[in-house]
Subunit: 284 residues, 2 copies
């Protein structure tokens, strides 16, 4: 009876549990969450079969452990899970920042070989198991960032699970991952939160917002507590990406002030061309 323990039964953890169940990867899914209501919601959704309140007893029964908690809490939990395992079994996470987790583990006892760092390019601004879906990872990319000492068998097993959940795997190192998502994910979140707040300084502006605004600011509905951790954990990369954007926006400001129509249109065209290349890669 292959058994999965999901620690953190929010949207992401519950969605993996449901996707894995649909793919018949595990017979039993145990759920553990320090918030008893979150665990109960996952049980009610059918995402987990049983709620365990004691981490150790859950780990003892599990053939694999998914650590699906906010980035700041991941390293400590991985260390605790690895210590509780009598034999090493795959441990994987969904953290949006990878190098700080590996650094925290390396600095305190080493990175467990059975830990396979993962980050699915999937999610939702919604929260909680009630919003979970067994389809969340279908057609999405999952970034896997193996560390030097990773157990190849554990890494291969975890990759295979993701594929059976419908995801495509991209492997890279943690530093490269963090720089990339600093630009593609963390920076857009910062801008969406800030632009939404700027418009929200005068709610009478809301009728002037169309569907473009609505999509642009969707991610401003994300969890501020979770995102504060992500942004601070990856702050060097977020600042680098932000500096790049600030420089670009300052340039646009000059082109507008100068009325430089040719350079302005060329800048917009570069964005549109990139968008077309991105959509071609991403399946239109």
């Amino acid at each position: 009876m292959p058994t999965l323990l999901v620690i953190g039964t929010g949207l992401m953890g519950a969605s993996f549990a449901m996707a894995a169940r649909r793919a018949n990867i595990f017979d039993v899914v145990l759920g553990c969450d320090r918030d008893a209501r979150a665990a109960a919601a996952a049980l009610e959704m059918g995402a987990v079969d049983e709620v365990v309140s004691d981490l150790g007893s859950g780990v003892a029964r599990a053939d694999a452990v998914l650590v699906a908690v906010p980035t700041g809490a991941i390293a400590d939990l991985i260390r605790a899970v690895a210590a509780a395992q009598s034999v090493p079994r795959p441990i994987f996470d969904l953290g949006g920042v990878k190098a700080p987790i590996l650094a925290a583990l390396a600095a305190n006892g080493g990175v467990p070989p059975q830990f396979v760092p993962c980050h699915p390019m999937a999610g939702s601004e919604a929260q909680g198991a009630a919003a979970a879906s067994d389809d969340l990872f279908r057609g999405r990319t999952v970034i896997v960032t193996p560390h030097d000492g990773v157990d190849p068998a554990a890494a291969a097993t975890v990759r295979a699970w993701w594929r059976r959940c419908g995801a495509e795997i991209v492997s890279t190192d943690a530093a490269r991952h963090d720089a990339a998502v600093g630009l593609t994910s963390h920076l857009p979140h910062v801008v969406a939160f800030e632009l939404m707040a700027q418009v929200g300084d005068d709610d009478a502006l809301f009728p002037f917002a169309g569907p473009g605004f609505r999509d642009f600011t969707r991610i401003a509905g994300s969890d501020p507590a979770l995102w504060r951790h992500v942004l601070l954990d990856n702050r060097a990369e977020v600042i680098a990406a932000l500096d790049g954007l600030l420089e670009r926006l300052e340039r646009i400001r000059r082109l507008l002030a100068d009325g430089d129509a040719v350079a302005l249109e060329a800048a917009l065209q570069a964005g549109r061309d990139a968008r077309r290349r991105y959509l071609e890669r991403d399946g239109g």
Copy 2:
């Protein structure tokens, strides 16, 4: 046989023609476009019944004229249409910037009383009549910016047409409109184009982009030539909105550099709170 002439048979003009037909507002829709392929596409879509190549003969047959062309070309066309009308009939537009159009008309012969400036908070990054939809304005807001000399009957008629197409009307003055959309629409377009171009400096980053990025950058698929005009026509307001965002992003940069978790989370929370208020207003 109430007849509408649509000048500019792209996505927006064709969509209004289709929505108006579905609402039984006009019996005949004439289309006119300086790009013969665009006019032919609208005819093929069934958006227009007949293509007219001569503006004067089209205007002579029309009970109302929709000027659905890029902002830079709107004022000249309104002047030409008004001059060609033997009796005043409603003329309305869909321009994303309003004060410069009214200023251009005022400076050269005056604003025709039958001109009712409109801007629907609807659209798509797609282009051309082939992407048009009779549903584009349903549930959307249309901003109407009546000028001092507007014919009240013309304004009432045009508002009623929009309502019959499923839209909700908000009336305001042109300056207020331009300031509002500078922030809610033009600024997000600038940021989306620029962030997309920044990521596009290295296409190998595309696999690191998830659904949040995809939605955030959707409007970077918009037409650069059209948007260059909008941004320059409204540049004072776009610059003011951009300065507000730059100041906010510089502040976030400081909070990240300082590791000020409390202030950072409060900033994100302000964005999320605004997003919630916006969605409540916008129907969830």
